[in-house]
Symmetry: C2
Subunit: 343 residues, 2 copies
């Protein structure tokens, strides 16, 4: 067996723990519910038990390189404190890293969840073999991660990569971060449902209204299903998602001129419905994209076959993520491997 590490993806809904080997093979994955309502201690206990179990099971067959944990929220990289975490109520300013290290009596690496997702896609996914990349994760909110020179770019306080809070509409919808008109307000799953409810308020006899009435779990997925069935209201919502992503990507491409930008998270499943609008905005708004666009950008978003090798062409690639919900798990597992190599 190859040397391995343990990656953890601590989400607001699911808690997943995996042993991953240095070749990128998933050795074993444990999926638990995150019992947020039972409190921090309960969640940390579940996590640490699963880590100990996996570690004990494999550590006699190969070297265990360490533990990486992806956490939703802003982490102070120096202190290991979770600064803000809307999806883990009651965890703000809690010394998460110190507490896990105390329970496991070993060093762990704590990292923002969108950063580990980016790092996973960089290691094994859509941005494989690219040293520089950025990722947007369209989930309940919109997370972002930036990898430069093969490393996660943290910025001076570990707070970099918050592309989801770029202003798209200066007087737009209020955002939980304090700003108005953030990308998150137009491209998250939450935003898709809100925009649908806004459309329903305008037209109560639409198919959207009917679906919302019939479907107790009226979600971004329900709205996407209507869009692929051709419902114009639903299609318009996803065009707006794409437009807003396109505006933010235009700024990112002009500012950073990276080789590849990856779009992941649950809402990325609706790629077909919003991606054309992304490329429309980029072509119109972004001079660096205009100078570096590949001939057929949408062809690259097609799925597993879309992987684009870095080459002398030096084109700007915008593509969907390949690892789905495992991106963060792989990225978290990668952290101790890199730290090991740096020693």
């Amino acid at each position: 067996m190859n040397d391995f590490s343990i990656g953890v993806d601590l989400g607001g809904t699911n808690l997943r723990i995996a042993a991953v080997d240095v070749g990128g093979q998933l050795v074993e994955k444990v999926t638990l519910g995150t019992k947020v309502s039972l409190g921090r201690d309960h969640v940390l206990n579940d996590m640490c038990e699963a880590i100990k179990h996996l570690s004990a099971k494999y550590k006699n067959s190969a070297k265990m390189l360490g533990i990486g944990i992806g956490v939703p929220g802003i982490i102070d990289m120096e202190t290991g404190l979770l600064r803000e975490s809307p999806n883990l109520p009651g965890w703000a300013d809690y010394p998460v890293r110190a507490e896990i290290e105390r329970r496991l009596t070993t060093v762990v690496i704590l990292e923002n969840d969108a950063n580990v997702a980016a790092f996973g896609e960089k290691w094994l996914g859509a941005a494989k073999d690219h040293d520089d990349m950025a990722m947007l994760t369209l989930g309940t909110g919109v997370g972002g991660g930036l990898v430069m020179g093969g490393k996660i770019w943290h910025g001076m306080n570990g707070m970099a990569g918050e592309f989801g809070h770029t202003t798209v509409e200066p007087e737009g919808h209020p955002c939980g971060c304090g700003n108005r008109g953030c990308l998150e307000q137009y491209a998250s799953a939450t935003a898709v449902v809100r925009m649908a409810r806004e459309a329903i308020a305008q037209n109560a006899s639409s198919r959207l209204a009917q679906a919302a009435h019939e479907d107790a779990e009226f979600s971004a997925k329900s709205i996407y299903n209507l869009a692929i069935q051709g419902d114009e209201d639903a299609k318009r919502i996803f065009r707006r998602v794409g437009r807003c992503i396109g505006i933010v990507l235009s700024a990112m491409v002009n500012s950073l001129n990276l080789p590849i930008y990856v779009i992941g998270g649950g809402v990325a499943s609706a790629w077909e419905a919003f991606a054309p609008s992304i490329f429309e905005e980029l072509r119109q708004r972004c001079m660096v994209y205009a100078a570096t666009a590949p001939p057929d950008p949408l062809a690259q978003g097609g799925g597993a076959s879309s992987h684009v090798e870095p080459g002398p062409g030096r084109k700007t690639i915008i593509t969907r993520a390949l690892l789905g919900s495992d991106a963060g798990l792989f990225g978290a597992a990668r952290l101790p491997m890199i730290a090991e190599a740096a020693r």
Copy 2:
């Protein structure tokens, strides 16, 4: 005498050539008009003669380390071609670097003008001793430069740092780059005059209208003079400048979490008129700034005394540039020194 290099700032109006030593001392500076109307050859001839003159004058006293040239426009770093250059009509797709190297029979380093300005401020100015910084240059247009890990961040094609083309108003004023509502359309000298003319069209009896009528060279400076005299229309224009810079800086701070952002260029002379609006927007819009703002951000913009040493505080500094129009000259001269050190 210390070892020295030659820096060139090739602007649309002025052509400046300087010998600068490795300690950052200006040895000699030559300022010429850029005779754009006489054509490329004439301008290159003026430049190369001045370089040869300075080089010959000092090369027996110290080692001449090389030549760095700041050029307005997008440069393909691989080929040395000037891709686009609105201020140097007729130079697009011209092999500038190869032609200068042919004339001087030596290697030169070509770099975007906003990048060299950032690099100058990083070496000797407001961002001295910071390895990571970004700069906005508010001139005829709005240029940008990004320094990461002590080096200019070029991106894959040398096109990074175009913060001036970040969208502020998705349906805003058309920009020469093809986009609408770019920062450049609200924060350049050109934009200040345009916004004044828009205000005059609304109110032909205003002091702005009177000034435009009386002043043949009605400029951003004229409008700033009215603002400091208390004219409400003029003040409103600079508040808009600050607001738009604040929106773009909010995205930069959330995305990059750098220690320092420097505002330079001619329009930065109006700092007092627009800076309060920048900080107002940052406080409202930018969660990373809210978590890392120094207690009195405006106190840092006060001039030469404003230099902030990097320290354990890890605050986000937004400040005005210190080197004025010499930033680019120093930054250009620094390029061959760094290249020399890397050998």
